[in-house]
Symmetry: C2
Subunit: 244 residues, 2 copies
């Protein structure tokens, strides 16, 4: 069980896209079971698992990843507080990748059995949950297109994306800064670049005074120029409130 305030970030994410009724909030809250904490570096779920709950991250950053046999890791998504991190396991059943905690995470768990009965009784809420997974897919497509960009552009683009996604749930500080618990190595794993090249590209971006990045804190200095530098267009995040 949970009270409404604890799911506030998630409801804000939904409400950016559609109206959510009080009854729907109650129904979703009733699906929550318990909270779990995962230390930085730990896994929320592992490839091959067949979880019987899905997890909504209340606090902390996490990454969706897969490790190759040669030891290299590919990160396919970065998740921020308010993201329903393995909602798709409700239907896919077996995890085809892992989700790891980039920083300490606190997580609300939703048993699949309850979510499944929610889909039987609350079609509109079901569509909104479906929508969240569709937006994740849209982000994947955007990352796929990013492959064409140069390394600095890719980095700038990721920062733009996180800035907007964190903004939705009020996680951007008044000075336009936000926490980003990513090492340069992890950033490379997300963008398909070597750590060395990430470092080189960051140096270059640094000289352009678009943002600063120190102590796991990114601060946007010139949003418009940064967006331009990254060719960032937030349409793929579907931030429009309309009936779904």
């Amino acid at each position: 069980m949970a009270d409404e305030t604890i799911l506030a970030t998630f409801f804000r994410k939904l409400e950016v896209r559609d109206v959510v009724t009080a009854a729907e909030k109650v129904a979703l809250i009733a699906c929550a079971s318990d909270m779990v904490s995962v230390p930085a570096g730990g896994d929320l779920v592992r490839e091959g698992d067949r979880p019987d709950t899905s997890m909504l991250v209340l606090d902390g950053f996490s990454s969706r990843y897969r490790d190759a046999p040669d030891g290299s890791r590919q990160i396919t998504a970065i998740h921020v507080p308010g993201d329903f991190v393995d909602l798709h396991s409700l239907l896919l059943r077996e995890m085809d990748h892992s989700v790891g905690a980039l920083s300490a995470c606190s997580v609300m768990r939703f048993p699949h059995a309850r979510l499944r009965s929610l889909t039987e009784t609350h079609p509109h809420l079901t569509r909104l949950l479906w929508l969240m997974t569709l937006i994740d897919a849209s982000i994947h497509r955007e990352w796929l297109s990013a492959a064409a960009r140069t390394a600095p552009e890719q980095i700038a683009h990721l920062i733009c994306e996180l800035y907007v996604r964190l903004g939705i749930t009020g996680l951007i500080a008044p000075d336009q800064s936000f926490t980003l618990p990513l090492t340069q190595t992890a950033l490379g794993e997300a963008l398909g670049l070597s750590a060395v090249h990430v470092n080189r590209s960051l140096q270059q971006l640094r000289s352009e005074d678009l943002f600063t990045w120190q102590n796991q804190t990114v601060r946007i200095l010139d949003w418009e120029s940064l967006k331009r530098r990254a060719s960032f267009d937030d349409r793929y995040l579907h931030l429009v409130r309309e009936p779904r």
Copy 2:
């Protein structure tokens, strides 16, 4: 309206993952409105559109793509007959990319209004449609991981994927061949490689006798070696039949 046989490829796709009742088939068939033909090179939907129908491809290959301002094109997915090609527009509303016909396509259209009421009355079928979009997302993640691979591996991997996906709906000929209406340029757009490099990589693969590719026809010569060459593991396609 449509009869069952015309949606047979789609039902086979669903039935690989779960049981579909006769009543559910009837309900889905009732959602279909009309058929449309699109010539090779034409678009099924365009970026920025707000379609009020979703389209299931009955025949022909299509690609999900976005054109960059500099004229380059990034293909983010390749769709085969039986794929519900813009089901996500039901919830995302505005298209953030286009879908183009790689070969002549015939398409069944499903008005959003009917699909929406389907989600109100048929929760299990809704979950199966949701599942189809989740598998698309899973394929996106696989393509994202592919960025780490070398060009020949990427090409081999794509061929493996299409071989398996086409196999589901019985579209592989007895001699292990299938139609692939992709130019080398389009293949490059899908994998983020230049056409020249695709050509180079194909030459190399050719010398390994894993498959042939002539006249838009790919023929698998040595499936096990090809899978190994591509590090292909079909788990991400979720080909397991179980309750969802």
